[in-house]
């Protein structure tokens, strides 16, 4: 492949992506309602109990009534949502830094997610994900 052609292609791609990003700014699309709707489409058998929505609207944790051994996770990727169902052991570890809960997953395409929560919900979320963590629990970074 001609290096000049390669450079021109790369610059063109970067420019097009930049134009797309400017003309279509990603909107705040993650709400409790959108998380519920998208997760229900992804996992139709799930009975959703409670939704813990991050303050920055990047991540939502979904506590399920059934199946009770599963945890729903909905994250925002650009202007779309991505759903996951965590089973026991799927979460590698987690840590807390201020109001941010960082979760490391055994998932090559989503190795890390984070969620910002108020103190009450942070404790609740920590307790919730401990049950799905491979190791014996998380750690406080602060």
């Amino acid at each position: 492949m001609d290096p000049v052609q390669l450079i021109i292609s790369f610059v063109s791609i970067a420019l097009l992506a930049l134009i797309a990003a400017r003309l279509f700014p990603a909107k705040d699309i993650l709400s409790a309602a959108s998380a519920e709707a998208d997760y229900q489409r992804y996992n139709p058998d799930a009975l959703i109990d409670t939704i813990i929505l991050g303050q920055d609207h990047q991540t939502a944790l979904l506590l399920l009534k059934a199946p009770s051994d599963q945890l729903g996770i909905v994250t925002r990727l650009g202007d779309r949502l991505v759903c996951r169902t965590a089973l026991k052991g799927d979460i590698a570890s987690f840590s807390v830094n201020g109001d941010k809960l960082s979760i490391d997953n055994h998932d090559f395409t989503q190795p890390n997610i984070s969620i910002r929560l108020n103190p009450g919900e942070l404790t609740r979320a920590q307790n919730l994900i401990t049950g799905f963590t491979a190791t014996t629990g998380g750690s406080d970074a602060d």
Binding site: M1, F10, L16, A17, A20, R22, R41, Y42, F108, T109
Partner: protein
């Protein structure tokens, strides 16, 4: 009249400026009309995957070009020549082979590992067409074209026709065009047919594998029409949580390696490679057939409850 094969050129390389120009036009059209949505990072990933897939093409040519030439020169049944009608025949046969490669690409995890990249965007626009695999040379796809060389069609003609095939498939990755004329929808692959192919709605899974001619899907029972009451929801059954091109390119290969490493028997190891994506020995993940069965059962249950 025979055509000089040394003047054929590479149609996909010549089409690159056209691709870039049309993506720009579609971006502007979408912005003006609000009918189509782009996402900057998604657009970058799709087009970057396309650019780098050129290297995979070079590796494929090195690995399989010699084999194709050897079959054509030493093992061919007929000498088909280089007349225009041979190009037409090669175009149809290459598209027929493409249909089966594509069908196997969705039904055999080994081949899906390479093809999944093309389906990994949740968007459907012209940039999605360029989200091409980097690893097709690791699959047995090329075997599907061998009968054409045995028949006696020169590899240069086949590769030229495959380039045209790929160019045809570019324009169908759009939501700008709703439906084409009925006669065209009946014979040719169209944006409507291909939207269905990219959708993860249970109704649409594993359908419309055609490259150029939709008649193959109609003939072999894989055709599903687009329905206005079930709008296409694009992407994978379990969408990727990243725009990182390396993770996009290799995630399914890594999944296969992990599954095979953890398998308890040789039967399971082989099936992790050749069974449909989603297959597991204990049924803990779902194949597209299981998803469709589940969806049908859910629909039947709703009907019974309504009665």
């Amino acid at each position: 009249m025979p055509i000089d094969l040394s003047n054929l050129g590479k149609p996909t390389e010549l089409a690159v400026p056209l691709f870039v120009g049309l993506v720009l036009l579609e971006i502007i059209y979408g912005w003006k009309t609000k009918r189509i949505v782009f996402e900057g990072k998604d657009t970058f990933t799709s087009m970057f995957m396309g650019m780098m897939s050129g290297f995979a093409g070079i590796i494929s040519a090195i690995l399989y070009g010699g084999l194709a030439l050897w079959i054509w020169s030493d093992l061919r049944l007929f000498d088909m020549g280089t007349d225009l009608w041979v190009f037409a025949l090669a175009f149809v046969l290459a598209d027929f082979s493409y249909y089966w490669i594509h069908r196997f690409g969705h039904r055999v995890r080994w081949m899906w590992a390479a093809h999944v990249i093309h389906h990994s965007s949740q968007h459907y626009n012209l940039s999605t067409a360029l989200r091409q695999t980097w690893t097709s040379f690791l699959t047995p796809s090329f075997l599907f074209y061998l009968p054409i060389f045995f028949l006696g069609i020169h590899p240069a003609i086949v590769f030229f026709c495959l380039g045209l095939n790929l160019i045809y498939q570019f324009w169908i990755h759009t939501e700008v065009i709703n439906r084409c004329p009925k006669w065209f929808e009946a014979i040719m692959n169209t944006p409507s047919h291909h939207r269905v192919h990219h959708a993860k709605n249970p109704r649409y899974l594993d359908s419309n594998y055609a490259g150029v001619f939709i008649i193959w899907d109609r003939m072999f029972g894989s055709f599903v029409p687009e329905r206005d009451d079930d709008p296409c929801n694009y992407g994978l059954v379990t969408d990727l949580g990243t725009f990182n091109p390396l993770r996009v390119a290799f995630h399914e290969w890594l999944g296969i390696v992990k599954d095979i490493a953890g398998a308890k028997s040789w039967r399971d190891r082989i099936l992790f490679l050749v069974a449909p994506p989603g297959w597991t020995p204990d049924g803990s993940r779902m194949t597209s057939d299981m998803i469709k069965d589940d969806w049908h059962a859910r629909g039947d249950a709703k009907k019974v409850a309504a009665e």
